[in-house]
Amino acid sequence: MSIEAKALSRFYGSTRAVDGVSLSLSDDVQVLALIGPSGGGKSTFLRLLGGLEAPTSGSLCIDGENLSTDELLLREWRKKNGFLFQSFNLFPHLSARENIVLPLVEVHDWLRSDAEQRADEVIDRFGLSAHSKKQPGQLSGGQQQRIALARAIAHEPRWLLLDEPTSALDPEMKAEVLDLIQELCESGQKIVLSTHEMGFARGAADHVVFLAQGQKVEEGDAEALFAGAETGEVRNFLAKVMKW
């Protein structure tokens, strides 16, 4: 995907969550990882990319399409993406399967029978067939996140936005979910993710952007940045988080 962000900002009152971030990525970047300290602007930046928030100022152009601030156009933008949140955010009153079927039918205008077939297909692919009729509250955190991931990719989004997809999971479940994301990366799915899993970011991402205090501190090819960051701040951060 090609991304052109120019002085992109998002303020909440006096808090500058994203503060003038410019970014220019060519089409050959398939997986982009956003890293950096908590509260550094990763989530907000991801929400801006996903059209969940309108920027306070600046512009954003993805694959030649400009992000609008008009709610109707923003919704069209959102429909083309798949978004995954840290805390799963499945609908608790619906079965796992219905969580996937409902958006296909109501947002993407699929026939219910087609949507059900597609839901069964993705649930099966993620190894969750035994749980398809259960409600989210009856599933483990890892299973919930895999269902949420299935929901995010069911409509074959142009890209997948993952907001710290494994932060709320214990190590074993983390691995389950990261395996799936890895598999999606290998299948050619375009992905932007914010993460604290540096090992995963290093292995899976083509390009890495380091955000702190709402600003871009450094960016570059994943392997190169992890091997030797240019700025002291990034080097310190990586040394600290990768120590254990």
């Binding site: 959102r78 949140f85 955010n89 609908f91 009153h93 958006p103």
Partner: protein
């Protein structure tokens, strides 16, 4: 240990009080023959209460929904007006509202239906309470659900229809059922505009026979068989809409 003590204490106190009151009421020397000739009055009063309450209940849900919509509106004027309506209605006596509605407002628009005005005032009164219950229900749905619905591409209306309302219903059911029972009992105040509902009939029977307990005791059964099914229905709906968190 504490749980057990509480269980025994509650069972004893409630059980004993219940038996005592029942015994006192049952052992009174009643003269049922005094009110027997008036059974038709009771029946027609009960029927009137049933009709006006049922109609007002449906209307109050509508009023409540509209006021909830107003209070949650992104625009200021409907928000302020809905808020004002809720505060005024909830903060003033129903009796006065019925009097003003029937003797001042209704004549001004040339309307003189006691039943109609009574129904409307009840619906507004109960609707104001329901609006607060509904608003609480909607606002109790976590932000993450709204965000998730937005990310999926739902419109505002779809978010309410598929995500917020189905979850909120479960949460507002118990309080709404209580409010519906209140509405049925509050309909007794319509005597001030001479709607011949259940309580008014009992008052008249009392005035004619001086058999006070005999005249008023049927109210217990008459109101309870109206309110208890609501309670049962609410419980069964709660189960139907339940989900694990």
């Amino acid at each position: 240990m504490v749980k057990r003590a509480v269980a025994i204490f509650v069972s004893l106190v409630l059980g004993a009080s219940f038996c005592f009151v029942f015994w006192v009421v049952a052992s009174h020397d009643y003269n049922w023959s005094a009110i027997a000739p008036y059974w038709r009055n009771f029946l027609s009063g009960w029927w009137m209460t049933l009709m006006i309450s049922a109609a007002a209940l449906v209307a109050s849900v509508l009023v409540g929904a509209i006021l909830t919509g107003g209070q949650l509106s992104p625009y200021r004027i409907p928000r302020i007006l809905s808020r004002a309506f809720v505060e005024i209605i909830r903060g003033t006596p129903l009796l006065t509202q019925i009097l003003i509605g029937f003797y001042l407002v209704a004549p001004a628009i040339g309307w003189d239906s006691r039943f109609g005005v009574g129904l409307l005032v009840l619906a507004c009164f109960s609707g104001a309470y329901l609006a607060e219950i509904f608003r609480g229900g909607v606002e109790s749905i976590p932000q993450s659900q709204w965000l998730s619905a937005k990310a999926i591409g739902f419109t505002g209306a779809q978010t309410y229809r598929f995500v917020v309302i189905p979850q909120a219903i479960r949460r507002v059911l118990p309080a709404s059922a209580g409010q519906f029972a209140n509405l049925i009992k509050d309909s007794s105040l319509l005597f001030v505009i001479s709607v011949h509902e259940f309580t008014m009939q009992a008052r008249e029977v009392n005035a004619n026979t001086y058999a006070t307990f005999e005249a008023y005791l049927p109210l217990i059964f008459g109101y309870f068989i109206l309110t208890f099914p609501i309670s049962l229905l609410s419980r069964s709906l709660e189960k139907r809409f339940s989900y694990e968190h």
